[in-house]
């Protein structure tokens, strides 16, 4: 009734293969993007931005990146935290070396640097897979964080090893550092988020994405039908690292403002991003976004409900937050092991038939 495709006839390949072939899907997504760009910036407060929206967009980008690698290409990675650190530190080095470079180029360049690093750490995937690959990416995580705390060149020889984002202006408006206004930071992250999600969606539908999925489903069979595992796996590592690097750079210059590799990019970040895509759904763009939203927003909402609304002591609330989120994760994975993406797919199937399911 509300959501159906009956009566939609495609008369060209182009219209049949567009990103959202169902009109109501397309309208909903377009209106969401419109609201995100033209309505929310007028209402966003600093608290909303820094507690929910910025972390959601930034970790959403990282989850997209990891989902390309793990969900689409089937290569498990526990090195996301380390790659985010590469993004943040290269952004810092680029910002301090080129004081006039536009922030967008800084972030994109740091993504590219991370892509090269990711390529190097993707090489073991050509020989090993599964748990063994997970362990070798875990090594990447520890090595990268160690390198960023060990060699003072990365943090310009400051005493504590912290890096601080300095202020950048664009049209006389601060676009990085501490004085950046909430709507500006939000819009910059949103531009990256929307364009990267768009690119990811189209990459995974194209020939590259099909190669990745072939490798994921059965690498030997993929090789026999002519997929080159070297280029497929390495391209997945490289592109996924670019995404994660961009998210690390944004986290550094728009969200935290000052980071230290061990503090901000520890192993817990790698797991957080992995949980996002597992709960959201492996091999799904919507899943990455939903997983990020769940794991970023849920703790904040729970905290606000328990502390501000119910006036519980903060330590009790914090213990309960751990309990509730843990229980929810287990519950969701038991009820729907394929994550939010599958849940959404089932809802859509039901909606197509509603209200006359028989």
């Amino acid at each position: 009734m509300l959501y159906r495709e009956v009566g939609e006839f495609k008369t060209s390949y182009q219209s049949d293969q567009q990103t959202f072939p169902i009109t109501s899907d397309r309208l909903v997504v377009l209106s969401l993007i419109f609201i995100a760009f033209f309505v929310i910036p007028f209402f966003i407060t600093e608290y909303m931005a820094s507690a929910i929206v910025l972390p959601f967009l930034i970790f959403g980008i990282a989850a997209l990146g990891l989902n390309i690698l793990t969900g689409y290409c089937g290569q498990v990675s526990l090195g996301s935290g380390g790659f985010m650190a590469v993004g943040a530190y290269s952004c810092y080095k680029i910002m301090t070396s080129f004081p006039d470079l536009n922030i967008f180029f800084c972030v994109i360049l740091s993504g590219l640097v991370t892509g090269v690093v990711g390529l190097a750490f993707g090489l073991p995937s050509l020989r090993i897979k599964g748990f063994y690959l997970a362990v070798s990416t875990l090594a990447a995580q520890f090595f990268l964080v160690w390198a960023f705390t060990k060699f003072p060149w990365f943090f310009n020889f400051s005493a504590s090893g912290q890096i601080t984002a300095n202020e950048r202006l664009m049209f006389d408006i601060p676009v990085s550092g501490a004085n950046v206004a909430a709507p500006v930071a939000y819009l910059i992250c949103l531009i990256f988020f929307v364009s990267l999600a768009f690119i990811a969606r189209n990459l995974t539908r194209g020939s590259l994405g099909r190669k990745w999925m072939a490798i994921r489903d059965m690498d030997i069979a993929a090789e026999i039908i002519g997929v080159n595992p070297l280029t497929a796996k390495l391209s997945a590592f490289c592109i996924s690292s670019i995404y994660i690097g961009i998210s690390g750079a944004l986290l550094f210059c728009l969200y935290f403002g000052a980071v230290e590799a061990g503090d901000a990019f520890g192993i817990d970040k790698s797991f957080l991003i992995l949980f996002m895509i597992i709960i959201g759904g492996l091999g799904s763009i919507f899943g990455s976004i939903a997983g990020a939203a769940f794991l970023v927003a849920m703790p904040v909402i729970l905290k606000n409900i328990m502390v501000d609304f119910l006036a519980w002591p903060v330590d009790l609330a914090s213990h309960f937050e751990f309990l509730i989120i843990g229980a929810l994760i287990v519950f969701i994975l038991i009820v729907e092991p394929h994550g939010f993406a599958m849940l959404w797919r089932i809802i859509k199937e039901k909606l197509r038939l509603w209200p006359f399911p028989h």
Binding site: S160, T164, A178, A258, S318
Partner: protein
């Protein structure tokens, strides 16, 4: 789901009204990996605020609005807490974590809210010419490093040429802070410095084997949380003489030494303030807080080192608020008034005796150029049979000839990167 959640969060943030009292937020961590250290500090801080409300009706006639926000020692949560509470008229922030302090330095400066990072945070923030809103009195890590070396000098008749000092430190921003000072001091006094990072608190076997092999004369430690008791246990295992093992003030609480039992006897640590509950203020706390059932947490931390640090920390900011009230002549002060008062802050023995804390902490004063106080710390020693800490030195002044140039250099680098103009004329 996303929009619904944002709507809920928005509704909740809007529904908390701004309160006109004097607001003191405290970023605590009663949960997470560092809860053992976080709980006593938070309890001391909260109990002092409760005492002010119950006994005096607040500060200068204004009730204290004390807000706790749980950070779990994580930077994200700290930033979230800061944004959540800054709208309520918060006068000053004490992040209680070097990582969160670093993230808040630029934010708080641009919002005009002062930060007091007492004995942690960015050391070069002591340079008030660059860091207008950041204070780290009464002492910072470089002062601590220098006092350790002074103590070595005292024990060796002023000559420590050729002695070996090992710095066992947590491999994080916090643990690396003392390295430049110790390097400069090593050059000045001719001792050898080895830095030994510990990546994961509890696992230190190889580090202490290295110390045993290289036979260091002294070991100093910048540790936190679970790293402290493990280090003391490992030092005992290699039979390192405990009186040559000196921790920073964050490595000197009861929880750090008790697990090692008698083997920890004689372990030394720096101290910002005196310990124990032998102060007149405890009578007031008992009467107005504990006996009324208002004690924070489980109420079992009273008199411990970190509980006293919580009291000290709360006392320093509330006294600054009092001085701000006196200076401006109004009882409802703003964060800007608070900042001005912190910059002109001074406290002496007479005032602390009046507060019920005689012989508790050193007198010091702050100025526009110097946000770090006079740079003094004492050394305390653990008595394992009596299970008490005892002060073994007076408050020692740090070697500012070495520290000042380092502070100037580090803050100048920060000022250049962030295009900050120097203040204070």
């Amino acid at each position: 789901m996303k929009f619904k959640s944002i709507a809920i969060a928005l509704a909740l943030t809007v529904s908390t009204p701004a309160i006109a009292d004097l607001t003191f937020p405290n970023l605590t961590y009663r949960t997470g990996a560092f809860a053992v250290s976080g709980i006593p500090y938070a309890d001391g801080f909260a109990d002092y605020m409760t005492l002010l409300n119950e006994r005096d009706g607040g500060i200068g006639g204004e009730k204290v609005n004390y807000i706790e926000c749980e950070t779990q020692y994580k930077v994200e949560k700290g930033v979230e807490c800061y944004e959540n509470t800054k709208g309520e008229g918060s006068l000053v922030y004490q992040p209680m974590s070097t990582g969160i302090t670093y993230a808040l330095i630029p934010k708080a400066t641009s919002d005009g809210i002062p930060i007091l990072s007492m004995g942690y945070g960015r050391t070069s923030a002591a340079n008030g010419k660059v860091f207008s809103h950041i204070f780290n009195y009464p002492a910072n890590y470089w002062v601590g490093a220098s006092v350790v070396v002074k103590h070595m000098l005292d024990e060796n008749g002023g000559n420590i040429k050729g002695k070996k000092l090992a710095l066992v430190h947590l491999d994080a921003a916090y643990g690396r802070e003392p390295i430049p000072t110790l390097e400069a001091l090593a050059k000045k006094h001719g001792f050898e410095l080895t830095t030994i990072p510990v990546a994961y608190g509890a696992e230190q076997k190889s580090q202490w084997l290295q110390i045993r092999r290289e036979k260091h004369d002294y070991v100093t430690m910048w540790g936190w949380g679970v790293m402290n008791p493990s280090a003391i246990q490992e030092a005992a295992n290699i039979r390192f003489p405990m009186d040559k093992f000196i921790g920073i003030w964050w490595s000197g609480s009861e929880g750090d030494v008790l697990p090692a039992g008698d083997a920890a006897n004689g372990y030394k640590s720096l101290a910002l303030h005196n310990t124990g509950n032998d102060f007149p203020i405890y009578a007031d706390l008992k009467k107005h807080v504990y006996d009324k059932g208002l004690a924070s947490g489980a109420g079992d931390q009273s008199g411990t080192v970190l509980y006293n640090r919580g009291i000290y920390s709360a006392m320093l900011v509330t006294e600054a608020a009092r001085q701000a009230q006196k200076k401006t002549g109004k009882s409802k002060i703003s964060p800007a008034d608070m900042r001005d008062a912190m910059e002109a802050f001074s406290i002496d023995e007479a005032r602390m005796t009046a507060l019920g804390l005689p012989n508790f902490a050193p007198s010091f004063s702050v100025s526009c150029e110097n946000h770090g106080g006079n740079g003094i710390a004492a050394i305390q020693q653990w008595d394992a049979t009596a299970k008490t800490w005892k002060m073994v030195t007076d408050f020692i002044e740090a070697d500012m000839d070495v520290i000042s140039p380092l502070i100037a250099a580090d803050s100048a680098a920060y000022a250049a990167e962030n295009k900050i103009k120097e203040r204070c004329g």
